[in-house]
């Protein structure tokens, strides 16, 4: 059976981001007590793969590099319909920039066996780098396309992929594996059914260490990340900062007067 591999990243729930903070001393993110969810666009990636499963009987394998406590979140991908999850979880993988992340994900994709198509979200909400898709493709030696707004196939072997370049739409045609970064225009992800949740419990979820994956210790985690955060600072912003509170009628009058004083009305 052909296989689709889907990269799924658990991220801190954006609805709780106001509770996230950076420790100004250490620069470490304080994320204790914040729940994780599947990165939204990764559901579009999963949906594209599941459609190939529905239409042509493909196997759908999810890969993820994430801390062990995100397994519950990844089970949601199984509940949507994926067949199995392969995850890389290891302290040595922590602090990875996109290069090290892509290197690690590439090892997971290889572990999954022959991938006939690799689907990713176009970007992760917490990283928002848009970098993993092209870099994963580079490590796998495959062509890639990001900003994908449409994936079509008639026979499950030749694909037409439409890319939004903002000023133009580009359609690629390819037979053979690619790494695709999907946007939310690409499809509407299905909802999880009760049956899905039940069957997810018995589907395989395998966890690998860096060693299990034969990863080069120089290329993973912080060590494998050419970029580092060298400092944190608060930009100096000088503004008038006149704070008004009270009845809307009163504050609005004061605001309009203020804006006139400053010459912008």
């Amino acid at each position: 059976m052909p296989q689709a591999v889907v990269c799924v990243k658990p991220i801190p729930d954006p609805k709780e981001w106001d509770r996230l903070s950076l420790d100004p001393e250490t620069g470490v993110l304080k994320r204790a007590g914040i729940s994780t969810v599947i990165n939204p666009l990764d559901k579009n990636a999963l949906e594209a793969a599941l459609q190939l499963k529905d239409r042509f009987g493909w196997t759908v394998t999810v890969v993820s590099m994430a801390p062990p406590d995100t397994q519950k979140t990844l089970r949601e991908a199984l509940a949507m319909g994926a067949d199995k999850v392969l995850m890389a979880s290891d302290r040595a993988l922590g602090g990875a920039a996109t290069l090290a992340t892509a290197y690690t994900l590439a090892a997971l994709v290889r572990k999954a066996g022959d991938a006939d198509m690799v689907f990713c979200g176009n970007m992760s909400l917490d990283g928002s780098t848009n970098q993993v898709v092209p870099q994963l493709a580079e490590f796998l030696g495959l062509p890639h396309a990001s900003h994908v707004v449409g994936v079509e196939t008639e026979d499950g072997s030749t694909f037409r992929v439409t890319v939004d370049l903002k000023d133009a739409l580009l359609t690629l045609q390819h037979s053979g594996p690619m790494v695709l970064g999907l946007t939310k225009e690409a499809n509407d992800p299905r909802l999880v059914s009760v049956m899905g949740i039940i069957s997810a419990q018995s589907k395989p979820l395998e966890v690998f260490s860096a060693q299990d994956l034969d990863l080069d210790p120089e290329k993973i985690g912080q060590k494998g990340s050419p970029t580092i955060v060298s400092g944190l600072f608060m930009p100096e912003i000088k503004r008038r900062r006149e704070i008004l509170s009270g009845e809307p009628e009163e504050v609005v009058d004061r605001l309009i007067d203020g804006l006139r004083e400053m010459g912008v009305l």
């Binding site: 890639h144 900062r241 609005v252």
Partner: protein, 333 residues
Amino acid sequence: MANVSDYSGFWVFAEQINGKIADVGRELLGKARELADSKGVEAAAVVVGDLTEDEVKELISYGADKVYLLSHPNLKLYSSLTYTRLLEDLVNKEKPEAFLFGAGPLGADLAPRVAARLNTGLSAHCVDLKLNEEGGLDQVVPGFGGSLMATIVCPNHRPQMATVMPGAMKMPEPKEREGEVVRVDVGEVPSPSPEIVEFKPKERSAVALDGADVVIAGGWGIGSEENWKLLEELAEVLGGAVGATRPAIDEGWAPEDVMIGQSGKTVHPKLYIGAGISGVMHHVVGIQDSEVIVAINKDPKAQIFEVCDFGIVGDATKVLPVLISKLKEKLGE
């Protein structure tokens, strides 16, 4: 790891679509010029496409000492594999210390692959670039969580690579300058693979936000599509344009291309009014150049109040209707 001292000069990838060089390349050249001058090294632009020397030499006036032109009919349309190979060869030959890309869909798609090929670092959506004491490039982005700014460096790998959103850097004034167009021998260029079967330029209606004197922005706190109409009404009264934060776009209240901030647009209005916006750095970096900033938020501790000229503590759905009707009244006077 690269021998860092072998690398010199600041490069900009000036992307073209359909034979037209995008503005972001010119904007970045202004920055590259500034950085190159303070180190006494060269600034260069790299153009890949099907273009003549005459079509690219204007980049000299924007700050390039050299414009590397990689031209071939098969390079007219973007192909990540071919473009990556050509840039890899050129970087390995000429060894620039830094290579900047616009974070439009093309640059954002290409730069990561080039960085991985060269085994170097790439920082995404930088809002500022400056030199540090070691002569390295400090790449400034909002820190995760958005309460602080973070400086990213790439100490041991070259080139130092960064992407920057269109509009985030100021467009330099073109000047009469010396410089040369260097035609790079590209050899045999295969036609793009994967095959490009269709290329459809879009009729793009200019987004009103770009040059607007008044920007009304809404965030997640606006609460519903129904309430969003209040922002549109206010924008109409003031003759302005509506912008949004990412959560508001995710909710579907506003289109993707009006996002303001680190991964969106930078606006420069006379008046910015932000309602229901918490004011993390990811958004604030896109509004800092506004002449006057007004914030409406019901949480007196919201971070946006630290960076505004006028802050109204209150429910936006109650304040906005009053603001709209009073402005209608007073502007009518």
